[in-house]
Amino acid sequence: MNSYAPILVLGGLAAGFAIFSVVSGMLTGPKRYNRAKLEAYECGIEPTPQPVGGGRFPVKYYLTAMLFIIFDIEIVFLYPWAVRFDSLGWFGLVEMVFFILTVFVAYGYVWRRGGLEWD
């Protein structure tokens, strides 16, 4: 556990630096009220009203997120396999080839159905 102590110290230093910057930035800067200045910036035109609750986004972003999860889980399986690769031998290789091919089937399906198209 001793190897993790320096990370905690570094994280503490970084947090101290960032929080100090934000707080002192709030204190040092001038404060001049101006209603137009505090509006959302849209190149000078009246800001578009924001939909309540965030509104709706293109479904592509959700699709990207779901695909990311699939591949990220694949990577989670690949990492320990790669580290112990030499001791697993043929068994490990064949198992992992089957696993990657299974994911490839899903990947090919998504590709064919146009899930990877961005309009």
Partner: protein
């Protein structure tokens, strides 16, 4: 190319695989030494970022026949520091529509994890320790059995900062920029993480010191060239840098997720972006370019090249070269369109890295498990290359077919006479198109006469109901 790169290390490095992971040197420092090393790496990061910003502006300036900043300090060396101080003294604007708490926390979430990755970067060999105040210690803050996983985890948290910043701004452009940024970073993170797997296979460990140790004879960028190339492309996408700086496409999204940020909060986002650049460059150096190892051939001439403080120099040189590569890209390449960018990530980089990973695994197993020599390698690589060639020919033929179809369509549209009112409103002719012959309007009197005539005619045809 890949075949050549494979044959080299297979024949040269025929020894049995060794265990490179040795973490017994870490976690032994007393508290004061930990403090010194933490402050040292922190200062290294901050100074590197300040210098990197200046060098970027200078180098891009020289590439565009300008001088770049040269007013603050000799050769403009204090420019970034002056910018920081100036930003600190600017008004800290929080828009009315913003979610105040999240708006303030977001830059912190982006910045703090960015600093963490440097903790496991090896500046020197673990077993060749240097003396700091008569205390021997490795030139590395710490190392973990899961060091690379830790780096990926720490840098991924930064994405939350970007999403929250865009969401909390309560404005349209930051929200769109944040969405783009997130989709971009998670897409390229897959390709990036996949390119590491081949390195783990070669090193047999995820600890950074072990990975660098495993490259004592060959740097990984040679035997694992495709992995290296995939990593280089995806790391540029991962850090939102040109030519993949779509979240900051100012023509479309103003400033992207940090449009509403001003003062030191904006500076923190900027700092986080540059620290992430240093982090991915460090990863590239330690995963593929031999980390602190002296350049090729130097050790045979000078045996002390990898001992004492010298490894720091080699590491910093490689890091700086990689940062220069980032700046060079920015000065050279125009920005991609978003669909092109996503297509590159999902349809090229991910399948390419998976196929390459399978190739590495098969060759490595053959080498470990049996007697693999060059003739076997040709038997294995032959079919693979044949399949790839066939695939390439097929795709080329299909591309030609589609392009032939497109050409036929183009010809068909070109053959049609130009109609300025085709899209509903008048447009001027493009080069190659000619306006249709001008038909002069009939004189107004004649027009009115004709209208009256036609109206009377229709009345007669309909018949008068009163009669």
């Amino acid at each position: 190319m890949s075949a050549l790169a494979l044959i080299g290390p297979l024949t040269a490095d025929a020894t049995t695989p060794t265990n490179y992971e040795n973490l017994s040197f870490f976690g032994r420092d007393p508290w004061w030494l930990i403090l010194i090393k933490v402050v040292a790496v922190f200062a290294f990061l901050v100074v590197t970022v300040l210098m990197a910003i200046l060098f970027e502006r200078k180098i891009v300036g020289y590439m565009q026949q300008r001088i770049g900043p040269n007013r603050t300090g000799p050769w403009g060396l204090l420019q970034s520091l002056a910018d920081g101080v100036k930003l600190m003294l600017k008004e800290d604007i929080i828009p009315t529509a913003a979610d105040k708490l999240v708006f303030i926390i977001a830059p912190l979430i982006a910045t703090i994890p960015a600093f963490l990755a440097i903790a496991v970067v090896p500046f020197g060999p673990a077993n060749n320790q240097v003396s700091i105040f008569h205390h021997r210690t490795p030139l590395q803050l710490t190392d973990l059995p899961v060091a690379i996983l830790y780096v990926l985890a720490a840098t991924s948290i930064g994405i939350y900062g970007i999403v929250l910043a865009g969401w909390a701004s309560g404005s349209t452009y930051p929200l769109l920029g944040a969405l783009r940024s997130t989709a971009q970073m998670i897409s390229y993170e897959i390709a990036m993480s996949l390119s590491f797997v081949a390195v783990f296979i070669y090193a047999g460990t995820m600890s950074t010191s072990g990975i660098v140790n495993s490259q004592h004879s060959w740097w990984n960028c040679l035997p694992l060239l495709p992995s290296f190339l995939i990593y280089v492309v995806s790391m540029v996408g991962e850090t939102n840098r040109a030519p993949f700086d779509l979240p900051e496409a100012e023509g479309e999204l103003v400033g992207g997720f940090h449009t509403e940020y001003s003062s030191i909060k904006f500076a923190l986002f900027f700092l986080a972006e540059y620290i992430n650049m240093v982090t991915v460059s460090s990863l590239a150096v330690l995963m593929f370019l031999g980390g602190w190892h002296a350049p090729f051939g130097l050790v045979s001439v000078w045996h002390g090249a990898n001992s004492g403080w010298w490894p720091v120099l080699w590491y910093v040189i490689k890091l700086v070269l990689f940062m220069l590569f980032f700046f060079w890209l920015r000065a050279t390449l125009p920005r991609l369109r978003y669909d092109q960018f996503m297509k590159l990530g999902w349809k090229v980089l991910i399948p390419a890295s998976l196929v390459w990973l399978l190739a590495v695994a098969v060759v490595r197993t053959l080498k470990n498990e049996g007697d693999l020599n060059r003739s076997h390698l040709i038997y294995i690589l032959g079919p693979v290359v044949a399949v790839l060639v066939v695939l390439w020919i097929v795709s080329e033929l299909r591309y030609r077919q589609t392009s032939a179809v497109e050409k036929a369509e183009e010809a068909a549209t070109a053959a049609k006479p130009f109609d300025p009112m085709d899209g509903g409103f008048p447009v001027p002719p493009l080069p190659g198109q000619t306006l249709p012959a001008f038909t002069p309007r009939r004189p107004r009197a004649a027009l009115v006469g004709a209208l009256v005539e036609s109206a009377e005619a229709s009345e007669l045809e309909a018949g008068d109901p009163d009669v």
